[in-house]
């Protein structure tokens, strides 16, 4: 193929510069195809929100308000105590964060400050691989190992299904997420700050804790918030390990079973409690969905505000 020769420009007409009709049609068509794809995602989101909101509205408008503050969560009997599910969700998420934040941040500090580049090259992908462990596996791990092999040594009368084991398993699930975000935040801290600290006679551990961690605070807060959202939205681990998705009595004990917002939704969705046709039980599924959605939305917005307030321009 010879390259196109420069043409004589003296007799150039507009027709020479016009492209073919089919090519123009193809360009325009591609544009519309991409726009449609974008539109579909927006439409689906809107549809989800509409479904959840209308179901939730049916529930709110028909439920007897007194039944929202009862002895526990018994949807088939029309008792929808929200505090039971909320407390359990928050308890499990807090346990998860107590597990995930120290080890996640610790791993992040190791990877960003200490690890030799070769080690990091292997360890970071491995860590992220851990994030792809299916949550059902961790749920089974909780009831087959965490409770029987570990927790029974510390608590004599622990329930086989309990919030503590569920919280620990959710924590394990969240570690890679938190570690990964935190590591990115730490690595974004300019080397110049580390050098300034070293230059003043600070050891690596001092530099990491007194300079790098505070400088990365906004990113670390983001890691905590994303981790918490993930933990409170986690379904499979708690459905398997903490029990009480169908019905649960209000209790604060971590060694007892207890359903969460998500596990109650899973139970309702599965219909294990013969929900359909039974008063408002089915609609409560939508209400819980809306509640969960609202919680994560508020968390993310609060996170945004905190992150922006702490943002350093280095």
């Amino acid at each position: 193929m010879t390259p196109p020769m420069p043409q004589n420009t003296s007799d150039l007409s507009a027709a020479d510069l016009r492209t073919s009709a089919s090519r123009r049609a193809w360009s325009a068509g591609a544009r519309w195809a991409f726009a449609l794809a974008a539109l579909v995602t927006v439409l689906v989101s809107a549809l989800i929100i509409w479904t959840v909101a209308s179901g939730a509205w049916t529930f709110i408008s028909q439920v007897a308000w007194g039944n929202l503050t009862e002895i526990g969560w018994f949807p088939r009997r029309g008792l929808f105590d929200l505090s039971t599910l909320l407390v359990n969700s928050v308890q499990i998420s807090v346990i998860a964060m107590l597990v995930a934040v120290p080890s996640g941040f610790g791993a992040a500090i190791y990877l960003s400050e200490y690890a030799h580049p070769k080690v990091r090259k292997v360890m970071k992908p491995t860590l992220e691989l851990l994030a792809s462990v299916p949550s059902v596996v961790l749920g089974v791990f909780a009831i087959s190992f965490i409770t029987p092999s570990i927790l029974t040594n510390f608590f004599d009368d622990i329930n086989f299904f309990n919030k503590l084991a569920a919280g620990i398993a959710v924590g394990l699930l969240v570690i890679p997420l938190i570690a990964s975000i935190a590591e990115d935040a730490l690595r974004a801290v300019p080397v110049a700050l580390r050098e300034a600290s070293s230059g003043l006679g600070a050891r690596k551990v001092t530099t990491s804790i007194r300079v790098v961690l505070p400088a990365a605070m906004s990113g670390l807060m983001a890691a905590i918030i994303v981790g918490f959202s993930r933990a409170i939205g986690e379904t499979m681990v708690v459905t398997i390990a903490s029990g009480g998705g169908d019905t649960s009595l209000f209790n604060l004990s971590l060694t007892e079973s207890g359903g969460t917002i998500t596990s109650a939704m899973a139970a309702l969705g599965l219909g294990t409690d013969q929900v359909a046709g039974n008063n408002l039980a089915f609609q409560s599924l939508y209400f819980l969905g809306a509640l969960l959605f609202a919680i994560t939305l508020v968390l993310n917005m609060a996170g945004d505000v905190i992150v922006r307030r702490l943002q350093n321009k280095y």
Partner: protein
Amino acid sequence: MNPEKALMTDEPAAPDILAPSESPAHTRIDVSAVAAMAGQRADTETVFECGDINVYYGDFRALRDVTLNIAAHEVTAFIGPSGCGKTTFLRCFNRMNDLIEGARVDGAINYHGVNLYQDEVDPVEVRRRVGMVFQKPNPFPKSIYDNIAYGPRLAGVKRSALDDVVEGSLTRAALWDEVKDRLKMSAYGLSGGQQQRLCIARAIAVQPDVVLMDEPCSALDPIATGRIEELIAELKTEYTIIIVTHNMQQAARISDMTAFFSVQANEMGQRTGLLVEYAPTSLIFTNPDDPRTEAYITGRVG
């Protein structure tokens, strides 16, 4: 000409020595006299003695066989084209190169007679005595106060004494009057020049023996540069200062001794820095010994 005589007439601290009309004495100076002045001036104590320093980054040799001495309470300037290894060399004096993955320093640097590169030496202890100011101002994302107090806190200065240390350091860095009403505010609110003076204050807050400065004015405008230069002249009475600069006029203005580094490429295209000439600043800029130095300072190369 008698070398002793030359030494007497050639007071290195005089800043106007550059004007040729005022310095007729060293139009012809014996090379050995220059060497004598560079090496062993009786009235100054030697802080650093460097012997055959080679610095490698992995397999790549960045700096070759540098030998020179640094005298106390003087300003020593390192000049030379980009890539000549002057910053690399500067970072040898407080073992800052240790922080760079794969960097290796060969040779001995004796600091008051102690080799910094022997096994027992803890680089952290070295850096408390040999402070550093960097090319770009790099204050911590903390308050002005906490920036200055960072080093003293590490060194175990008591809380009750910190206020005095902070005020003293900022005063010596000629920044106190500008910031005394906003010590608790972020250091990022300061201008570039103020930030760099803050970094100097932070470095001297731990009362080091030596202050290393790596092109401290390269990110600053001429006015801020002028203030830093005045500051360096004042700090010289208390500290030994080694400064890397791209600006030859700056080296001529502020330094007592100047080391000119150059760069040589080998057959594989790797560029290795080397020390070409080390002499009193007045001589380097008026009567350089080496044609490469002359070519560089007169602007013919680099």
